[in-house]
């Protein structure tokens, strides 16, 4: 039976017996392909007694980024320090998916503790891009991205603190969704930067994304930052009529595009949207603020990460290295347990929080964050959505090193997506085109709590682009 490239919609047309057969195949194939993709850190041991056979979504497989807690299942965060950690509880998002009948195939690979943007820095090695195994998936949710882009699974969970769902989605040619801040409960998500963290969704079309959001969204008593919204009917209200809708291209982001082919595809899309009666205009945002997005993100996220991960000491849970006394044990555990990549970020975060630097760096970054949020909110309050390329280029090779970190292309275009983490907006990346057989996506963002509207607009744009259920079979 064909199992590759099945969407949730395809699964809904199958009976339980067929789904069971497919689930078995999907697990087998995920294990086999993992030798090439390294998308999974571990696989679920499926027990008959755990399966919910009475729901419409019963036995539909998915995967979970390994920084989301799963009861009695190893949850490593992609780090040596948690390489033996088995949570005694499920994240709320997992309970909701389990209740709906979905079955997790396994836990997916990531940059260590989600502190990375390449999918290459995790303790369990890099994940590989299904389109070209010599290229990165992007990160930090690289394993989830690869598991969906290879056609194995209809969807997977990721987490997005700066762009960790939306950027890899662009690089592997699938849909990546970051909901409004707090719309999906974060109870059970390992905190990286808790003022920015969201759980996100990878899928191969907007409809599946909307279905998963319908099940996972909602206020949660266990997460005081979770929110209620008015409209949870995400999948029933897709296919918005774009006539009269107002979209905005941020001029400074557009002007930073250096990839001519990507620009041409984006321009063609904009023309098509205008043909449908959508009004697309250019708006400016203070370029100094746009160039400050990345440093602001870095200061805030590294500062929060250095504190949030102070509980990883080998005493309460996780791997412990014994020492002469408790203090020595903690130091040895953290020294051996963390990779150099995240130690650097913790050091930088601690530096930003030092008494002498706190006003100049951390407090200043929080003030700039407000200025950035105010400017983007002003644009979003006067329009239906902001649209731009999700990245300038296709996925780079593993040996790629950014040479010009002060260029507009890098500072603005390659890193602007974090504005939606600053202001809490819902934001979605959908596939735009293939350049030399490698995917690149377009990003659409709307105002806070307008998730239903954003998904509806994105589903229409997906039809205009005419890429639905794109995947790359890995042999």
């Amino acid at each position: 039976m064909k199992y590759l490239g099945l969407t949730i919609d395809d699964y809904l047309k199958l009976d339980i017996k067929q789904r069971r057969e497919i689930l078995t195949e999907v697990v087998k194939e995920s294990i086999r392909l993992n030798k090439k993709l390294n998308a999974f850190i571990n696989f679920s041991e499926l027990k008959e007694s755990d399966l919910n056979l009475d729901s419409s979504y019963s036995l539909i497989p998915y995967a979970i980024k390994d920084n989301i807690s799963t009861k009695d299942i190893l949850t490593t965060g992609g780090s040596s320090i948690l390489s033996n950690y088995v949570p005694c509880f499920n994240a709320t998002v997992i309970n909701r998916l389990n209740k709906a009948g979905f079955v997790s195939v396994g836990k997916t690979n990531l940059d260590e503790l989600a502190l990375g943007g390449t999918g290459t820095t995790g303790y369990f090695g890099p994940s590989y891009n299904p389109y070209d195994l010599n290229r990165i998936t992007g990160g930090s949710s690289g394993g989830s991205a690869a598991s969906v882009a290879s056609g194995l699974l209809p969807f997977a969970l990721g987490s997005d603190t700066g762009d960790s769902v939306r950027k890899p989605a662009s690089l592997v040619g699938i849909v990546g969704y970051k909901p409004t801040f707090g719309l999906i409960s974060r109870y059970g998500l390992f905190p990286f930067a808790n003022s920015l963290d969201t759980i996100g969704i990878f899928a191969r079309n907007v409809l599946d994304t909307a279905r998963v959001l319908e099940i996972t969204a909602g206020k949660d008593a266990l997460d005081p930052t979770s929110i209620k919204i008015d409209d949870y009917q995400f999948s029933a209200n897709l296919n918005a009529n774009l006539k009269g809708k107002k979209g905005v291209i941020i001029k400074e982001i557009y002007d930073s595009i250096t990839n001519e082919e990507a620009k041409k595809s984006f321009d063609q899309l904009i023309k098509k949207l205008e043909t449908l009666g959508c009004k697309i205009i250019f708006r400016s945002i203070d370029k100094k603020l746009l160039r400050a997005l990345l440093p602001t993100y870095y200061i805030i996220s590294c500062s929060e990460a250095s504190i949030n991960n102070s509980n990883l000491d080998g005493i309460k849970f996780g791997k412990r290295v014994n020492g002469l006394d408790i203090t020595d044990s903690i130091v040895k555990t953290r020294t051996e347990g963390f990779g150099l990549s995240i130690k650097k970020r913790f050091l930088l975060g601690s530096y930003c929080l030092k008494k002498d630097n706190q006003e100049l760096l951390y407090q200043k970054a929080l003030k700039i964050k407000r200025l950035i949020v105010e400017q983007f909110n002003e644009v979003l309050n006067d329009s239906d959505f902001i649209i731009n390329l999700a990245s300038n280029d296709v996925a780079p090779n593993f040996d790629f090193k950014e040479k010009d970190i002060l260029s507009d292309r890098y500072l603005i275009l390659e890193n602007y997506l974090c504005f939606a983490n600053f202001n809490g907006s819902p934001s979605i990346t959908i596939p735009l085109t293939l350049i030399n057989n490698l995917p690149i996506g377009v990003n659409i963002t709307s105002s806070v709590k307008s998730d239903a509207k954003l998904l509806s607009i994105a589903s229409t744009i997906e039809k205009v682009i005419d890429i639905n259920n794109q995947y790359k079979e890995v042999k």
Binding site: P295, R334, L347, L348, Q363, K367
Partner: protein
Amino acid sequence: MNNKVDRNLIKNLAEDLAFSINESEIDDIISYFDDAQNLFSLIDEIDTTDVSPLIFPFNIEYKMRDDKVIETNSSEILSNTETKDNFVIIQRVVK
């Protein structure tokens, strides 16, 4: 920034964070800090006079639990516990 980034500062920061750094890693870390400082110089250009800091993107209502604080004597509570290497031995939570 007020602190010159050198080997001592990196070691002190690592000590605060309860991990140690190999001598061989310090040059790499200093180079990483140099890049970060280049990036951070971009925020100096922005005037934030009279701007208040923003932490969460929008107002979040926190509901505190109705816990009551009770004074306890921890050494008395732990006096009957089994210890090994200065650790209190407790029953495994996850079996």
